[in-house]
Symmetry: C2
């Protein structure tokens, strides 16, 4: 959404009499309020509460910040100036975690909901909606024969795109993580605005970006996080997703959009579970993808088992294998082990270890960095 | 989103060690849980709370439903069997209104946030995602020269749509209400699934549906609900939106999509503020729109002032003027007064008074009803 009304609404919705039935949250409280100096004030009316914290997620992870209560029972906290970024947060009220009832943007996620706000940069950061020409985001729905469900995928087309035009575009397949919905890379990743900005600055080639629902075995979501990655279903999920991508999503995209179909015009990238899927689909189909960017990849299996036929000769055909992980990410170790295995096989890759943990600030910056390398 | 995982996740996210930084809401609680008998169980862990209510919005408006606490501090409530529909709700904890921290779908709104769940029908209701061919929803971003902001609009194209094809489609411009974002008619209204289903059943003509951001003077959002409609800004907002629609949105749509451009292939409809906009843009531009469906319209001004040149002779060109309002809607009276004014001017219209209040269940059913009448 393009509007953030940072306005103290001094009245309750119920004063407007025709709304007899609307579901309404108290509107006399402005929270979060982003200030010009890049600090933020959070507020919550909770007279009976004993302890209220903001749990703010930045690049390094979640930080608890204590709020204080005034005589009216209004809890508040103003942060220091924050780094320009898109932040998510929850409120812990006497230990119970809630979404700020006054926030207007939400994390879309099966398990990790929360509120969202933006600290704008000056000049604007690469993920902000700026006054450059904008591409379009297409939302597709279809029935998967492989999985048997109704599912969706999103397609970004760059500014000036014409379905009827003669220009054919390269394609980046961009995969979300476990617990995400298909809209994660647009809503949290701002992938469309990142591409708009990079293309406007001449830093990325105009490309189509396809963001499919990333579950091959959606039953995996019944696991929650417990022991995730440590049973057969994890690998089944990745393998079936690879089939969905190659035999359901790619044919639809290549039929409906003017895309180049050679391997050097196809990239695959993804975060966490989507990083594991990037490696599985990419390294087992070097004939299909020349560009690969696995990010914060959830690597749980023996690479020799997952990539049985991969060798240095095959890997020479890869134009980019950009392996990124944050130095504060719990998946740093398996990523380093995987990179050591690649090195032992004489397979070249670009080794990116950044600041940050397993968080969206890291992945947005990853996309800004690798998108400009693709299709060169 | 296509997945609703009605599964009790018995573990906390923090047991998955690499997620050192994720913003996470407690995941041992399933709420809301929709049962096969169409009842729903709501749950909230709040040991310190004295009183917790579900505020459930159905067609008639918001109902408070008392929850009860068990020995562990878990509040719960199981409803009776509910009418198949899409419901929104909040939780009131000792009077403070919050969004259920465990819900996975949200009302997108500036002021009226809440959780969302669906009671499916058998057979499926007209607004459900079924196994029929699906159209596509396109998200466009642009800078409005009239308003001076970055804004967006959504475009539904029907199944089988080909941007390159020879088929030209009629267009419905479909407007949201005050406090909504541009995605209200897709997220809350399921307009795309309603059209998919009606088209599959041969009940509606294949059409393109355009859903623009509906503020001509976004400053109006600073009002909240207090005295809304009772100053100049209300009318300025409607007039400027009409300019945005006619001179910015329509030209973009007619350039990018294969649409018919005659008045008999153009419809306009909208709810609440969007109903007032429908009347203003429609009745003042009968040369542009032959089909009009103002729903639960927020009519605040003297019609003689708003529609100075409207008369019975002009109005003969209107193919459909479908004026709908719920009998429990606070706007019933101004709608009846407006209809009496039309009658006094010998202007014909279709008079629809349904059950229900100022709510989405009413508007979804409105869309199902009038979409099948358009372009016949």
């Amino acid at each position: 959404m393009t509007h953030r009304w940072l306005v103290c609404l001094a009245y309750f919705a119920l004063t407007f009499p025709f709304l007899t039935g609307a579901t309404l949250v108290a509107q006399d409280i402005l929270s979060p309020e982003v200030h010009p100096d890049r600090s933020v004030t959070f507020r919550l009316m909770a007279p009976a509460a004993q302890k209220v914290e903001v749990r703010l997620e930045d690049a390094s992870g979640e930080k608890p910040l204590a709020m204080t209560k005034d005589d009216n029972g209004l809890w508040s906290l103003t942060t220091q100036a924050l780094t320009p970024d898109i932040y998510s947060y929850t409120l812990a009220v006497d230990g119970g975690v809630i979404i700020d009832p006054n926030v207007h943007e939400f994390v879309p996620n099966h398990f990790g909901q929360g509120g969202v706000f933006t600290i704008p940069g000056s000049p604007a950061e690469a993920w902000e909606e700026t006054e450059v020409p904008h591409g379009e985001v297409h939302h597709h729905y279809y029935k998967s024969k492989i999985v048997g469900d109704q599912r969706d995928f999103f397609v970004y087309t760059p500014p000036g795109f014409e379905a009827k035009g003669k220009t054919k575009y390269p394609v980046l397949y961009l995969l979300h993580g476990y617990s995400d919905f298909a809209n994660a890379w647009t809503v949290m990743g701002h992938a469309n605005f990142i591409l708009d900005n990079l293309i406007a600055q001449g830093k990325a080639k105009p490309m189509i970006v396809v963001m499919p629902l990333g579950y091959g075995a959606p039953k995996l979501l019944e696991h929650g996080w417990k022991n995730l990655g440590h049973d057969e279903l994890w690998q089944t999920n990745i393998e079936k997703f690879s089939d969905v991508l190659l035999t359901e999503v790619m044919p639809q995209v290549e039929q409906e959009y003017p895309v180049k179909k050679d391997r050097e015009s196809r990239a695959i990238a993804g975060l966490s579970m989507g990083g594991a899927e990037t490696l599985y689909a990419g390294l087992n189909h070097i004939d299909q993808f020349a560009w690969m960017a696995p990010l914060s990849s959830a690597i749980f299996d023996e690479p020799a088992k997952t990539f049985p036929s991969l060798d240095a000769k095959q890997a020479e055909k890869i134009k980019l294998l950009w392996i990124a992980v944050g130095k504060e990410d719990g998946l740093l170790k398996p990523n380093r082990e995987f990179k050591a295995w690649l090195t032992s096989k004489n397979i070249k890759f670009t080794d990116i270890e950044t600041d940050g943990a397993h968080t969206w600030p890291v992945w947005r910056r990853n996309l800004v960095a690798f998108a400009s390398l693709l299709f060169r």
